[in-house]
């Protein structure tokens, strides 16, 4: 279980994370959403001890996470937003380095490396240095690296950024499978479809603060499960949200121009919140 208590991070006079209280249960797939600069990446950096909090604390299974707690860090794997890898190492070396840093036996490193690279279709590139890999391949390698150590908690900061649609779907399947094995996952993403498909609960963050926590369905229902889109005067699309299908149909039939009815998505919720509450001040 991950718990943050009044977690605060300031950089000079800028508060990136502001008194964040969050509880993520063991085996939960939790999404952290918010506009750019909301504090999502800073939260991940705090949870992975890359940054230390200005105030507050992080608890992993009830124990305070610190840089000098290798027993707690052993449980966590992180896929950072940036390609945090040595550019001059080959895939095999990257994996071996990771395994060694986690004190894995050499035999197991080799076996797991083979399996993971095979699974991500990277095996034939294993002798290639990171510098010579495409963005998508680097992203996949980061996933392999994070899974090598068989973590209990996986922190994912936009893990599918730069991946093609097929790879992204493969990744979703993999994450679902891992979550099914009771792996706790915290995900930040800009793909709302991803959060809607994968997460048990999502939190909306803005200006470092937690605005709302709910299930994706709960958030959608709070806005209205049905959406009627009609063209706006300036060529944009104006969306109207309704809690029942009947209400939506009644509204649709009252319109004279082109309009359409569809189910509301998490992206609608995000856009609405971003437009109303989460706008940068």
């Amino acid at each position: 279980m991950i718990e943050t208590r009044n977690l605060t991070k300031t950089f000079d006079d800028f508060t990136a994370v502001d008194s964040l209280n969050l509880t993520i249960e063991t085996g939960e797939f939790f999404g952290l959403l918010g506009p750019n600069g909301a504090g999502k990446t800073t939260t991940i950096s705090l949870l992975s001890t890359l940054l230390l909090p200005t105030k507050g604390e992080i608890l992993i299974d009830g124990q305070t996470l610190k840089r000098n707690r290798p027993d707690l860090k052993r449980k966590i794997s992180v896929i950072t937003q940036e390609y945090s890898m040595r550019q001059d190492m080959t895939m095999d070396e990257i994996m071996e380095y990771q395994g060694r840093l986690y004190f894995m036996p050499r035999k197991e490193i080799r076996k797991r490396t083979e399996e993971l690279l095979e699974f991500c279709d990277l095996l034939k590139f294993r002798k290639r240095t990171v510098r010579k890999l495409s963005g998508g391949m680097k992203r996949k390698l980061m996933v392999c690296r994070a899974l090598l150590t068989d973590p209990e908690i996986l922190l994912l900061d936009e893990p599918t950024a730069g991946m093609d649609a097929l790879s992204r779907r493969q990744m979703w399947n993999l994450l679902r499978k891992l979550n099914g094995k009771n792996l706790t996952i915290l995900l930040t993403t800009h793909y709302m479809e991803e959060a809607q498909n994968l997460c048990n609960r999502v939190a909306l963050m803005d200006h470092g603060k937690l605005e709302e926590i709910n299930t994706p369905t709960g958030l959608i229902e709070s806005l209205g499960a049905y959406t009627v889109d009609e063209p706006g005067a300036d060529g944009s699309t104006v969306s109207h949200y309704f809690h029942s299908r009947q209400e939506a149909i009644a509204f649709l039939s009252s319109l004279t121009g082109q309009a359409s009815l569809r189910e509301t998505t998490l992206e609608d919720v995000f856009v609405e919140r971003a437009g109303r509450h989460l706008m940068p001040s």
């Binding site: 290798p70 794997s77 004190f103």
Partner: protein, 243 residues
């Protein structure tokens, strides 16, 4: 043991860049030896100047080899590649990371100094290099590796490490008992420069190579420097909020 992991990482790097590392370690010291030792032929303390120069050049090569292997590399890993994050996140105790960097850097400095010693072997100088010399070379490398770790943690951008090299390492290379005795520096400056780690190393290696006894206080001073910079590096890695 985390130290072995870091040494393995250094070995991977060394193996891949073996020729570049070896050539880089040789060029500048060879120039010093050719220009100052063979081109401008003088004597010092009644001996050929080359006998004074070789221990100094070995010391400064060890310093440069160690400092450059750590400071620049770690700076790139921290600020550009972000590969340092991999270590910070991992359960490898961070003190073992620091220790691995210091030992790895020291070995690189030792290698660079060793290359120079091998290159000067054909010159009949009568200088003695024994276990004590190697210990001092290793210790000197350890001190400058620890300084390299601290500098890389202090750096805010890629230019900061070369800047530190220009302002601190390069003047030390010239002034610290390498090309001339610190006794020739006036008053306080002379005393200050004599106390610097490279001056101590040069003095120790020179005394040993001349077959004279050497003061253990020099080794104690180097150990003190090592302790201080290791403590600073450890403080940074455990306590700095935005590393």
């Amino acid at each position: 043991m985390g130290i072995i992991t870091i040494l393995w990482e250094k070995w991977v790097e060394f193996r891949r860049d073996f020729y570049k590392i070896t050539l880089a370690a040789m060029i500048a010291p060879l120039m010093y030896l050719v220009v100052f030792g063979m081109g401008i032929q003088t004597t010092s303390h009644g001996q050929p100047y080359l006998n004074f120069l070789i221990p100094g050049v070995v010391s400064l090569t060890t310093m440069n080899g160690s400092f450059n292997a750590i400071a620049q590399n770690l700076n790139v890993q921290r600020l550009y590649e972000k590969a340092f994050d991999q270590v910070m996140i991992s359960p490898t105790p961070l003190w073992q990371f620091i220790a691995g960097q210091i030992i790895g850097g020291s070995l690189r400095g030792f290698y660079a100094g060793g290359v120079i010693l091998i290159l000067t072997l054909p010159i009949d100088t009568g200088l003695i290099f024994n276990g004590w010399s190697f210990l001092v070379m290793f210790l000197n490398g350890a001190v400058f590796s620890a300084i390299g770790v601290v500098v890389s943690f202090l750096a805010k951008n890629h230019a900061d490490v070369p800047r530190f090299s220009n302002y601190i390492i390069m003047p030390m290379a010239y002034l610290c008992n390498t090309f001339f005795s610190t006794e020739k520096l006036p008053g306080f400056i002379g005393k200050f420069v004599s106390a610097l780690p490279l001056s101590q190393t040069s003095h120790l290696i020179r005394s040993i190579s001349a077959g004279e006894g050497f003061a253990f206080s020099g080794i104690v001073i180097l150990l003190a420097y090592l302790l201080v910079f290791t403590a600073i590096a450890s403080w940074f890695i455990y306590k700095k909020k935005n590393l």
